[in-house]
């Protein structure tokens, strides 16, 4: 009986909402930051902190299990006069540039082939993507065996096909080792280009092709003036991502050649590993790793600007 009047007496919650915990959590800003906090704190602790700590380390002479001594830019000065370091710079650029061109051209061809209508297309797509999803270290071990100095199946095919008289040492010869890495990286990365570019191709309306065909455009013209302009954004983004990740490639090179023979396939990441981990010179290793930052930062800035503009 007292229930009715009580509800009338209760103060109207119209003005000056009382601050309850629930009310606070429901505020957009508070709720957002409560949600963000765990992930952002995690990334600050395990990405941002190591990043800045790495810059700090690169300015120190710091060896494993001993205190570091601040040396300013001495590590970078040593690197600037180190022939191996400059070889690593050249190797890395060659590795990134050549694989990118091959993956882009091959991936585009792959996308154009699968974009045709045929039975079993989804199956073909699934199989073609396989090199990209299998753990890299494991497929690289298979390549090691394929390129084995004595029992290489490639040599067997070339010799028995009458193309060469005796087998090559694919991973033991400086020039061949770099090309072997390039082939394996292309084998693994090309499907990524192929499948993403295929998704780009599938956004092209068939009407565009019909209109072009009616206007008498040849196949080449249709590719140049219809296909390319439509997939250009995808092409650029995929390439930028791939370049950034190829720059940081480690396991393929580590597993296949360890940077050898005679530093011929050393790149930034493997050199940083050798100096920082195997030799225990953390400061110098961090300096090697940081040396890719300028090129990388430029790429990232270009990509970010491009993504914002789109």
């Amino acid at each position: 009986m007292a229930v009715g009047p009580a509800s009338i007496v209760r103060p109207a919650p119209v003005e000056g909402r009382p601050v309850t915990v629930r009310g606070l959590i429901e505020r957009e800003g508070v709720f957002s930051w409560l949600m963000l906090a765990p992930g952002v704190l995690f990334l600050l602790a395990f990405v941002a902190y190591p990043f800045f700590y790495g810059i700090f380390l690169s300015l120190e002479d710091r060896r494993v299990a001993s205190e570091g001594v601040f040396v300013g830019l001495a590590n970078f000065r040593v690197l600037a006069h180190d022939a191996v370091f400059w070889q690593v710079v050249r190797n890395t650029f060659m590795y990134v540039c050549v694989t990118t061109i091959l993956k882009l051209a091959g991936g585009l061809a792959m996308a154009l082939v699968i974009n045709q209508r045929f039975r079993g297309r989804n199956l073909a797509r699934a199989f073609l993507l396989l090199p990209f999803i299998v753990p890299t270290a494991l497929s690289t071990v298979a390549w090691m065996w394929i390129l084995d100095p004595t029992f290489s199946v490639v040599n067997w095919l070339l010799v028995h096909g009458g193309i060469i008289s005796s087998g090559y040492s694919w991973l033991g010869n400086a020039a061949l080792a770099m090309w072997s890495l390039i082939v394996v990286n292309t084998w693994r990365g090309m499907p990524f280009y192929g499948i993403t570019l295929l998704a780009g191709l599938q956004t092209i309306s068939p009407d565009l092709y019909e209109a072009a065909a009616i206007d008498g455009a040849t196949t080449t013209q249709r590719f140049l003036y219809v296909t390319l302009p439509v997939i250009k954004p995808v092409l650029i983004i995929v390439t930028m991502f791939s370049v950034i990740f190829t720059f940081g490639d480690f396991q393929l090179i580590y597993a296949l050649t360890h940077g050898g023979p005679a530093n011929a396939t050393h790149v930034f990441s493997t050199l940083a590993f050798d100096i920082g981990m195997s030799a225990g010179q953390l400061g110098m290793g961090a300096a090697v790793a940081l040396s890719i930052l300028p090129a990388l930062a430029a790429l990232i800035v270009i990509l970010t600007i491009y993504l914002r503009r789109e």
């Binding site: 957009e28 709720f31 957002s32 949600m35 963000l36 992930g39 952002v40 990334l43 395990f46 990405v47 941002a48 990043f51 790495g54 380390l57 792959m110 082939v113 699968i114 045929f118 073909a124 797509r125 699934a126 199989f127 993507l129 396989l130 999803i133 753990p135 270290a137 494991l138 497929s139 071990v141 298979a142 390549w143 065996w145 394929i146 004595t150 029992f151 199946v153 067997w156 990524f192 499948i195 993403t196 998704a199 780009g200 995808v234 995929v238 940081g248 480690f250 396991q251 580590y254 990441s269 940083a272 590993f273 920082g276 981990m277 953390l282 290793g285 961090a286 790793a289 990232i300 970010t304």
Partner: protein, 281 residues
């Protein structure tokens, strides 16, 4: 004949290039398989035709499973992959949701920060990270990789999920809020169920990447009992200059199978995840 010419042109544009891509793409897997079932006298002979197996054997598989820690490595790999996938998808969701759907101070900074952490390559971080893990005395524990893998996977999951979260119409959430749902309820009961494909994509991708991770595992896991499959195979089955190719290939093949199975069930989600970053819906 018209049909004949059609076939020729189709062969030139489709069948022949497709066959080349498929053969080159899958040959290493074929090679893994037949190497793993060849007896040693076939493997290490230059006289026997190597492209097929003459006398198949399971010896390498038996040796791999009984003489090495392969099963332990598999268990470690699975455990780490599952734990890091769950951590990454949950934290990735919690980052992506406010960024995609809410307005709050600092949103732009967080968005740029997440993109930057996604693009910072591992080689830039592994040396300081090794020092940090040492100081935390986590060397040779799976905790070390469970803590570090999410640094690669959270930014990626968040990035992928933002696109999915943005695609859910605002009205659905507003209607739920008017009916008295809290923000948390609107998220967990309205938006997240609608984004199941995105969550699956992120999960499968994170799982695959976790299985593929090499550098942190190489640095942090130096004892055989805590190693993952890629590290175990590369560091322990390759012994000096003596190679056990049969076992190596058996290990490489078995190590690839979990990913391949998950992938075969969810190809479409995987492809969606792969292309989400590059192609706008």
């Amino acid at each position: 004949m018209v049909g004949g010419r059609d076939f020729l042109s189709r062969a030139r544009r489709l069948y022949i290039p497709l066959a080349v891509f498929v053969v080159l793409g899958l040959f290493p897997f074929y090679w893994m398989l037949i190497t793993s079932i060849k007896p040693n006298r076939e493997l290490y002979s230059q006289k026997i035709m190597p492209l097929v197996v003459h006398q198949p054997t399971l010896k390498h598989y038996i040796d791999l499973l009984t003489e090495t820690n392969f099963l332990t490595w598999t268990y470690n790999t699975m455990l780490v992959a599952v734990v890091t996938t769950v951590i990454s998808v949950v934290l990735g969701t919690m980052i992506a949701y406010p960024l995609a759907r809410l307005r709050f101070p600092g949103a732009a900074v967080v968005a740029i920060g997440v993109a930057a952490t996604y693009l910072v390559p591992q080689p830039l971080l592994f040396i300081p990270m090794a020092d940090i893990i040492n100081r935390l005395e986590l060397g040779n524990t799976l905790t070390a990789v469970m803590l570090t893998y999410p640094t690669l996977l959270i930014p990626f999951s968040a990035w992928l999920l933002m696109g999915y979260f943005k695609s859910v119409p605002r009205e659905l959430e507003e209607a739920a809020r008017i009916d008295g749902a809290s923000r948390w309820q609107a998220m967990t009961r309205i938006v997240l169920p609608l984004c199941t494909p995105g969550l699956l994509s992120a999960g499968i991708f994170a799982f695959t990447l976790a299985q593929n991770e090499f550098l942190y595992a190489l640095i942090f896991l130096a004892k055989s009992e805590v190693r993952t499959v890629p590290i175990g195979v590369v560091t322990e089955l390759i012994r000096g200059d003596v190679f056990y190719w049969g076992q190596l290939m058996a290990g490489a093949l078995l190590g690839s199978i979990p990913v391949a199975i998950i992938y075969s069930f969810f190809v479409d989600y995987y492809v969606a995840g792969l292309t989400a970053g590059a192609v706008k819906n």
